[in-house]
């Protein structure tokens, strides 16, 4: 359905809920409105269940500290809570904002409306100190429990040097360790029933199966999982806070490290948002270079996942083969970008430099080399009977559950729902490419494997089209806000030189406003929600990552399963800890 068919949600809400909401235009074209704090649960419930073509997915939930704004918003709030919903029927996002006065930092929880809201609200509480009344377990999620203050508040220091000297005496060490002790009662868990005493098994943060610093506490009855509590935040690096200190341009390398297997894919998500703010159109050559590199990174990321997943279910060898192939793909990335995992290669308005001589030969070699390897992996992994035994029927969820929990990407497509943002909301010129959206049926771990494996083939198809039809022309936009600005005229007239100097030393000044740039990243929908206050740095950088909601779903998937299934489920989830914790 297109936009015109479904009624404008702002009008409908005003009419049907009797709530006075105020529409707000945004630079990214996403419909947005302000809603009074008291009416949030009512309006959101209406938007989720009752409106025509409902907004069934809670895409993101975050907040903004407005106290330091140079240009205050229309509601002169101290804090703003921002809800992003997504409607698959309308194929559109919806932004709902609510203003909080400084003396009442609380809003009603919607955790009972969307289970996915649980972690998001905890994160907002953790980062901003905004309370969600009625939340079942409002506790810090990313920061340690002993943390003082709420890091994303503007008055919270951003650097260690502003915080006084760090000391860790023995008492503090002990207290911190004691705080990490898991107390089942806090989570409403019992230690035993009449028949059995439960084991509480601490999986991680150092464990070979968790792919990083993730902690999962399992409540076990024998080897059967009764319940699980994932604990995240060990990989939290304050990527969003850093966004408030770095210029629009110098933040790009930080994005590389969010989904650290996705490389330039992160750049693309960030820059999609920045370019919407600035109103920059990337020239065709720049777009196609971006698509080609992003798809290469999709293959690279999937290869890491493929090998490590096989290892999670006990197969030892595939990881060596896939890493070998990944190395070949990295050779191309290195030839073009000069770096491997974190190339930091895209720029505002295009890419950092033109393609080097001979690039097409490298890519063509890879296109020839890779498909037979994929067939080999099919034989080795996909058709292996033990592998099927371990993954079929494990960790399955339906399309509706997926939407309810905010699942996107291959896991959503594995439920049989053909939804790919590259097709549905094309960005960076994806509409010009021919490729299929692989789907599967049952949404179990095995189906997720099928979808990702097929995605690699489709990515290869896209890359081939990039090589065959690489357009000529500039790789970088000539827009005044594009950065770094083009230099060739700087030595001819003083005005260009001054503009260039300012743009390089201070960085570009983005017009005030806000924009959400969301793309189909390697693991699902990755979105950057940027708020500009008309300055050289972002006022608020919100990173919506796919792994965060996926991980939140873990307890649901592994209840009643065995410990080995947990590893299969984790492996099939394809998460990256930095992508969860940012």
């Amino acid at each position: 359905m297109t936009r015109t068919e479904a009624a404008n949600p702002v009008d409908v809400v005003r009419e049907r809920c009797g709530v006075e909401v105020a529409a707000e235009p945004a630079r990214d074209g996403i419909r947005a409105f302000w809603c009074p704090r008291e009416s949030i649960p009512k309006v959101l419930a209406y938007l989720k269940d009752e409106i025509d073509s409902p907004y069934r997915m809670l895409y993101d939930l975050t907040a903004i500290d407005d106290r330091m704004r140079v240009q205050p918003n229309t509601h002169s709030s101290a804090f703003t809570v921002v809800y992003h919903l997504f409607s698959f029927e309308r194929n559109e996002y919806l932004r709902i904002k609510t203003a909080l006065p400084p003396d009442a930092l609380s809003v009603d929880s919607i955790a009972n409306l969307w289970p996915a809201a649980n972690w998001y609200e905890r994160e907002v509480w953790d980062m901003f100190g905004i309370r969600f009344s009625g939340h079942p377990h409002l506790q810090r999620i990313l920061m340690p429990r002993s943390w003082v203050g709420h890091p994303l508040c503007k008055d919270h220091p951003a650097r260690a040097t502003e915080m006084g000297r760090f000391q860790l005496p023995k008492e503090k060490t002990d207290a911190e360790q004691e705080m990490l002790r898991f107390r089942p009662e806090e989570w409403g868990m019992r230690r035993s029933t009449e028949d059995s005493d439960f084991i509480f098994l601490n999986v991680g943060p150092q464990h070979p199966g968790t792919h990083g610093v993730l902690r999962i506490v399992l409540q076990l009855d024998g080897e059967e999982i009764v319940d699980a509590v994932p604990e995240i935040g060990f990989h939290h690096r304050g990527a969003e806070k850093m966004g408030e200190r770095q210029s629009w341009h110098t933040y790009i390398p930080y994005t590389d490290r969010v989904d650290y297997l996705g490389g330039v894919m992160n750049n693309l998500a960030y820059l999609t948002a920045v370019e919407k703010l600035a109103g920059i159109t990337v020239p065709p050559r720049g777009q196609v270079i971006r698509v080609m590199l992003a798809e290469l990174f999709r293959i690279i990321s999937h290869l890491v996942w493929y090998g490590t997943f096989a290892q999670d279910v006990g197969q030892m060898s595939p990881v060596f083969y896939t890493f070998n192939d990944r190395e070949r793909a990295f050779a191309i990335i290195e030839a073009i970008c000069g770096a491997r995992m974190h190339p930091n290669w895209f720029r505002i308005g295009g890419v950092a430099a033109d393609l080097p001589q001979g690039w097409d030969g490298l890519v063509r070699d890879f296109i020839r080399y890779f498909p037979p390897r994929l067939i080999e992996y099919d034989r080795e992994v996909l058709r292996n009977r033990i592998f099927k035994m371990r993954t079929k029927g494990i960790g399955a969820f339906t399309k509706d559950e997926a939407i309810e929990w905010g699942v996107t990407g291959p896991a959503l497509r594995a439920t049989g729902f053909e939804w790919d943002f590259r097709k549905k909301q094309p960005y960076s010129g994806y509409e010009q490419f021919e490729f299929d959206i692989p789907t599967a049926k049952t949404g179990d771990c095995y189906d997720r494997v099928l979808v990702r494996v097929e995605e690699m083939r489709q990515s290869l198809r896209i890359i081939e089209q990039c090589v065959n039809h690489m357009p000529d022309g500039p790789y970088q936009s000539g827009h005044p806000l594009a950065s770094p600005p083009i230099k060739d005229r700087t030595m001819h007239d003083i005005e260009t030189l001054i503009t260039h100097f300012l743009s390089v030393s201070w960085g570009p000044v983005m017009p005030a406003g806000e924009a959400l740039g969301a793309i189909e990243a390697t693991k699902g929908n990755n979105g950057y929600y940027l708020v500009s206050d008309g300055s050289t740095v972002s006022y608020r950088t919100r990173i919506r990552t796919p792994s965060f909601p996926h991980m939140q779903m873990l307890p649901l998937l592994c209840r009643g399963r065995m410990v080995p299934d947990l590893l299969a489920i984790l492996g099939a989830m394809d998460f990256v800890l930095a992508d969860i914790d940012r």
Binding site: I199, L201, N202, H207, P208, G209, E223, A310, Q311, D312, V313, G314, Q315, M316, S317, F320, Y321, N324, E380, N384, I386, F387, M389, R390, M562, V563, P564, D565, L566, L567
Partner: protein
């Protein structure tokens, strides 16, 4: 026909098996590397052969640490059990005519008994570590051994029926005309699977299952005590390969080459096969493994025994 020089045989077999076990570590790492498109240890000595020696020196000089929460006596005894039981089994293995420590008439039963005792090592290690992962590993080991021991013994009874003896030398001699792998192919396959389970190697490494239980039953072990488990595992692989050779592939029998060479060739083949299996297969889940053992393997082993019995009976009468 017990060896005329028992002490020599004991020493010889002890030295050879232990050296072989150490060599096997190198061999496994190199073979895995070969199959996984990488090099493996190739720096220390020719072809990296001395890597094992270097590792051994390292492991000997490591601090002998026992976790304060562990049950000390049991914790120390557990790794010894596995090495002792496997080495005891080698006592009845006939390598070639005359090269055997003790030519027991119930040799086969002795081997089965020893391997059953070996399970104690894993279970006690898991229990005494007082670590949840180790405990889970130990419990898995106990359950796995219980279910696989049963049809392991049964799968061999066909061979015993055909040879008419539990004596391993007699079993080899009985294969002069035809290796038992032909009439007892099913028994061979069953024993191969049970043997892999017995050595706790992929795809049957559930008691240690790295990606799930970190290191399972030996999570808390380090230094030489860990080394004992390690050596015990490789000795187990050698033992199972020896048994397969003796019971199904005619032991030392073969043309032209001296008997001992034939024996070694056959044993090495099966060792390599076990390594290949580790490189290739994923790990089934605990309950799948159990139901496989009880619902598929056990009935097959019983059927094999019944049919072999009937055929032998018909033949004789």
């Amino acid at each position: 026909m017990t060896s005329p020089y028992p002490i020599l045989s004991i020493l010889g077999i002890l030295i050879v098996t232990l050296t072989l076990a150490a060599g096997l570590i190198w061999l496994e790492r190199r073979l895995l590397a070969l199959w996984q498109d990488r090099y493996g240890p190739n720096r220390v000595g020719p072809f990296g052969l001395l890597q094992v020696l270097a590792d051994m020196i390292k492991i000997f000089f490591k601090e002998d640490w026992i976790p304060p929460f562990a049950d000390k006596a049991v914790f120390v005894a557990a790794p010894a059990i596995i090495v002792v039981t496997v080495l005891m089994s080698f006592a009845v293995v006939p390598v070639a005519p005359g090269i055997i420590v003790s030519d027991l008439d119930v040799g086969l039963l002795f081997v089965l008994a020893m391997s059953s005792l070996g399970v104690y090592s894993v279970v006690l290690a898991g229990w005494s570590s007082d670590n949840k992962y180790a405990l889970l590993g130990g419990v898995r080991a106990a359950a796995q051994m219980l279910s696989y021991e049963v049809f392991m013994g049964l799968s061999l009874m066909g061979v015993v029926l055909l040879a008419g003896s539990f004596n391993l030398t007699a079993i080899v001699e009985a294969q002069r005309n035809l290796w038992f792998v032909a009439p007892q192919f099913l028994g061979f396959v069953l024993f191969l699977i049970a043997g892999a389970a017995e050595t706790r190697r992929l795809p049957f490494d559930l008691p240690e299952a790295e990606s799930e239980l970190i290191a399972g039953f030996h999570s808390e072990y380090s230094g030489m005590k860990f080394g004992m488990f390690f050596v015990g595992e490789y000795l187990g692989v050698i033992l199972i390969s020896c048994l397969i050779t003796i019971l199904f592939f005619g032991g030392w029998l073969g043309p032209v080459l001296p008997p001992i060479v034939w024996f070694l060739i056959k044993v090495m083949f099966f060792i390599a096969f076990f390594i290949l299996m580790r490189a290739a297969l994923p790990r089934p889940r605990f309950d799948q493994l159990m139901s496989w053992g009880w619902k598929l393997m056990l009935p097959l082993a019983l059927a094999n025994l019944l049919i072999t019995g009937a055929v032998v009976l018909a033949w004789r009468s």
